[in-house]
């Protein structure tokens, strides 16, 4: 059959709409055409896929190949379509059975040798795939975070050959399960007892943590504002599962998510995030500006000249907010932020 359809997902903010990768082979001069609003990284998949297929021992068909990424009006970015495109070409040229592709969704970047590279936003994609009843095939390092969304089966693969062996029934890919680790009591956060004096500020931090209130610390330089604020994550109660997965998905979009910081409580499959590690929660400044307000846990800014007043108002409403230097005050919207918001 000269036509194959492979299911994958794009990313649009936190949403991960379904993308069908359609590959059609026809006679004519050998060429590869990619359509469906592909970004530069997606267009470059042509060369990666060609090299990966040849190095994995497959034949790259000498035909006129048309790859369509549907829906046509959704912009597609990043290398996560490499694996679906490669599988589509293999299925359309009859090297793997097209029927085997139906129950799966695929995402992964290919290296020239045919190995799979990690992708960004795996958790958001798997969360969105929840209701479809398909299983997900992902690169090994992305699968671990994606397995936290327990309603979808996630298979982990490290090479293109492994995926093809799974689809032809020669071997089965390992299913990735959420790892169970012992709950950490947050010992690696700085301790509040290290701050001397400042009884009122400590009490205010306790109230902020208990009721999820926003907080502003003001005072002369060197009196301990940043020191106090950095101890706030260590006081927070555990997040709920929904809030945990949401903030994990945001971190996953920014490529910052570290699954080892999540704690899975075995009874009832409840996932509790680690609300108390600076790397996972506090470094909100590296998350794209338009997503920052989504993080429910705790965000801590010092010197954030890119914030607009609008962004800060949302923060004050949604976050426990610790402002520690005057540089963080809202001024005029910076050109970087306004250009990113106008793109949206």
């Amino acid at each position: 059959m000269p036509l194959a359809i492979v299911h994958s997902r794009g990313l649009d903010g936190l949403a991960a709409p379904e993308v069908a990768v359609e590959v059609h082979l026809t006679g004519g001069l050998p060429s590869v055409t990619l359509v469906g609003l592909p970004d530069t990284e997606v267009k470059e998949a042509r060369d990666r896929v060609r090299a990966a297929l040849q190095n994995a021992g497959f034949e790259f068909p000498r035909k006129r190949i048309t790859v369509n990424l549907a829906p046509a009006d959704l912009p597609k970015e990043s290398g996560r379509f490499d694996l679906p495109i490669a599988l589509g070409i293999l299925a359309a040229s009859g090297q793997i059975p097209a029927q085997a592709l139906v129950g799966h969704e695929f995402a992964g970047e290919l290296s020239l040798s045919g190995e799979l590279r990690p992708i960004r936003g795996a958790l958001a994609m798997v969360l969105a795939a929840g209701g479809m009843g398909r299983s997900f095939v992902l690169p090994a390092s992305s699968a671990r975070e994606a397995a936290l969304a327990s309603q979808v089966r996630v298979f982990t693969a490290s090479t293109l050959l492994e995926v093809c062996a799974h689809l032809t029934g020669q071997a089965t890919l390992a299913e990735c399960l959420a790892t169970e680790e012992c709950p950490d009591d947050g010992n690696d956060y700085p301790d509040l007892a290290e701050v001397r004096g400042q009884a009122q500020a400590k009490r205010a931090l306790e109230i902020a943590a208990a009721g999820a209130h926003s907080i502003l610390l003001a005072g002369p330089p060197g009196t301990g504002k940043s020191m106090l604020a950095s101890r706030l994550p260590g006081l927070l109660p555990p997040m709920t599962q929904a809030a945990a997965l949401e903030s994990a998905a945001v971190l996953s979009l920014a490529g910052q998510f570290r699954p080892e910081l999540f704690v899975v409580i075995p009874t009832g499959r409840r996932i509790t995030p680690h609300p108390r590690r600076p790397g996972s929660v506090v470094a909100a400044s590296r998350i794209p500006a338009r997503f920052r307000w989504l993080i429910r846990a705790c965000s801590f800014w010092t010197r954030s000249p890119n914030s607009t007043a609008g962004c800060w108002k949302r923060c004050a409403n949604h976050l426990i907010l610790a402002v520690s230097t005057s540089r963080a005050l809202p001024g005029k919207p910076s050109s970087r932020l306004s250009s990113s918001s106008s793109r949206r």
Partner: protein, 155 residues
Amino acid sequence: MNPCPCGYYGDSRGRCRCTPDQVLRYRGRLSGPLLDRIDLQIEVPAVPAEVLQHAPDGEASAVVRARVAQARQRQLQRQGKANARLSTCEIDQYCQPEASAAALLKHAISRFELSARAFHRLLKVARTIADISASDAIEAQHVAEAVQYRRFAKD
């Protein structure tokens, strides 16, 4: 944030060299509407040398965290969400102060000229303080403490 460009406004040794105009302009960068949305506004003063030389005195994070978790548990059992996320009608339902507390609140609103939004936020903070002390009712002491955390904007 700092109270003025040099940071020493209000220092007892008079180290601040900023003009009143500079201070006003500096404070103006944080707009009133924004400040009004922040529940807890705390001044962090300089720590005296004697305190710094003593051994650390406060509670450890683990002790505070246990109290915080209990208070949050009370909130979730009562209303299914944290106090800061209560809507206006939920505030009417869950954050009714006692008679003495209501009188104090009325006085505080006129004394500090609090906005309607500030009033609601103050009630939510008072509710949290009552939760930390495991009290079902919002008493006058809880409201009094909550009012303390709104003073910065009025200075």
